[in-house]
Symmetry: C2
Subunit: 321 residues, 2 copies
């Protein structure tokens, strides 16, 4: 289909940066600095499951790349480039232009050019696959299995807003324009913490992003590192609009809400100043929220020092109907 | 969903080979030998568009990886690993087991382990995204833009069978069990020409695979290299079952039929012996089918030395309804 190729060319083919072979050959090519490894992550996003059908296409283009850049951030990897697969139920040029604009803007901001792709028609749903590539010096990646007992547990940014925005847009919560305005950006325009991930190399023992929610993702670190942890609820950095909500809803959003592209990481107490300095250099906010323990299990202590009885499970946005 | 994670773990998590960090962290990690570049390609395959809904899942797992390995072959890149995104309308364990078996068998045969992925539910269609990574010494990749005037044009394998099998299965041709049996393997179990691509480094000037069909893909080489070409129809390696067909159908299948994971490449006449030796080393059949010309345009000469008047356009399998 000539029209399809024309559209790909118009919106997705850019001149590849020097040293990279981009869209237009069987493969894209990129160099890797000596002594560095390639870090890669892939996500497949589907309409109705990972995003609402009427989402702003500019935000969708941004987020499709952001969730993958967040995985590079969580490894402490520097972005190199990305490839995009796009299955479109319709060819709508304004939609495509806006999607590409959102995608390329974030790619440019992180030096992560689109170097290959595949566009096709789909019978029903819009599907977006993004694979990112980054580089990290051998042995310096921030893995999930590197945490040690007695580490501080830190998170970047604020928690809870994405979950609340999702439930408002999904109709689970009564319409509330002010609350939606205060939370929607966290859901639709997440900012991957790439600079923070790079700054934490050599400081953090383990890191992960919070795409599945704080308890579930911290649980992945603990399981991989064979540790437990205790969190201090009062220390959690709750998004201001969420802090005013009913306690049960707030806890569900903060502890269980996924789709959060902030980092959770552990570092030894001796590195507190180094963590703070790394965060300042990356212009990120970080908060110390608890400690890892040699004993298995994850507890969240309330302000009276009692463990919360019912911890919310990781929340699966857009469950299959 | 615990069940979903369990299934991923059961069928897609394997112990990563030494030096690679596989499924189970934010990113997979792999090393790249000094002086080599990374080659990468991505494909997004959709039910009803790239494969029939009732296709053997073992064949589907094989083909989803094969089409990507074929892109590495066409660049002369050695496979390193791959990532898989899978959107499933249902979780059917026998289907998943067979798909994984077909995928892993081809991955093992080419030393291309699955090192990362993303599995999700889809509302309607099955979607499969595969991204492969390979390595190629800097400057040695077989690109599309390296052909020179006076090069021989070669193809590997045989042509025409995949197109005929597709049209039989799609009901465009009257049912013919013998013809289907003779052609179906080319459509459903394509063998990527990885060894041939590697053997052609330093010999071929340009290469491409025939996923869009001979005329269209050779056209990509000619456009990128600013050349024309003349092909000799009588020299084309036609699959035996196709050779017996009506002339118009045969030409459509051989010249226009896509979904062919063989290589088309150019090399100078002085390298004919080297090409033959490379093919023998790779246990591949290669056939010389024409020459590149400095003058633009692509002609196919019939057995009387006259150019064919109506060349079939590249054929888009599974066009959008």
């Amino acid at each position: 289909m000539a029209s399809e190729f024309d559209l790909i060319a118009r919106y997705f083919t850019r001149t590849a940066p020097a040293g990279l072979l981009g869209v237009g050959d069987d493969c894209a090519l990129f160099p890797v600095p000596p002594g560095e490894q390639v870090a890669t992550s892939t996500d497949l996003l589907l309409e109705g499951r990972h995003f609402f059908p009427d989402v702003d296409p500019r935000a969708l283009g941004h987020k499709a790349l952001a969730v993958n850049l967040s995985d590079l951030a969580a490894m402490g990897a520097r972005p190199i480039g990305c490839v995009l697969g796009l299955a479109l139920p319709r060819l709508e040029e304004p939609w495509l232009a806006a999607f590409a604009e959102g995608f390329h803007a974030l790619a440019d901001a992180h030096g992560c050019p689109l170097i290959g792709g595949d566009t096709t028609r789909s019978a029903h749903d819009l599907a977006i696959s993004v694979t990112v590539f980054g580089a990290v010096p051998a042995g310096q990646a921030l893995r999930r299995d590197g945490a040690e007992a007695g580490d501080d547990i830190w998170v970047s940014g604020e928690l809870g807003a994405a979950d609340v925005a999702y439930r408002l847009l999904d109709g689970q919560y009564a319409a509330n324009d002010a609350l939606l305005a205060a939370t929607r950006g966290a859901l639709e325009w997440p900012q991957p913490q790439v600079a923070l991930g790079l700054a934490l190399r050599g400081i953090a023992h383990a890191a992960i992003d919070l795409s599945d929610g704080l308890l579930q993702d911290l649980g992945h670190i603990l399981a991989a590192s064979r540790l437990g942890a205790s969190l201090d609820e009062a220390s959690l950095p709750v998004a201001p609009a969420v802090a005013a909500m009913d306690e049960a809803l707030r806890r569900r959003a903060v502890l269980g809400g996924g789709d959060v592209y902030q980092l959770c990481f552990t570092a030894p107490p001796a590195k507190r100043d180094a963590v703070e300095a790394a965060a300042r250099a990356a212009q990120a906010r970080v908060t110390r929220i608890g400690q890892t323990l040699s004993q298995a299990g994850l507890r969240v202590m309330d302000s009276q020092g009692h463990p919360l009885a019912d911890l919310p499970a990781g929340f699966d946005h857009f469950p299959a109907s």
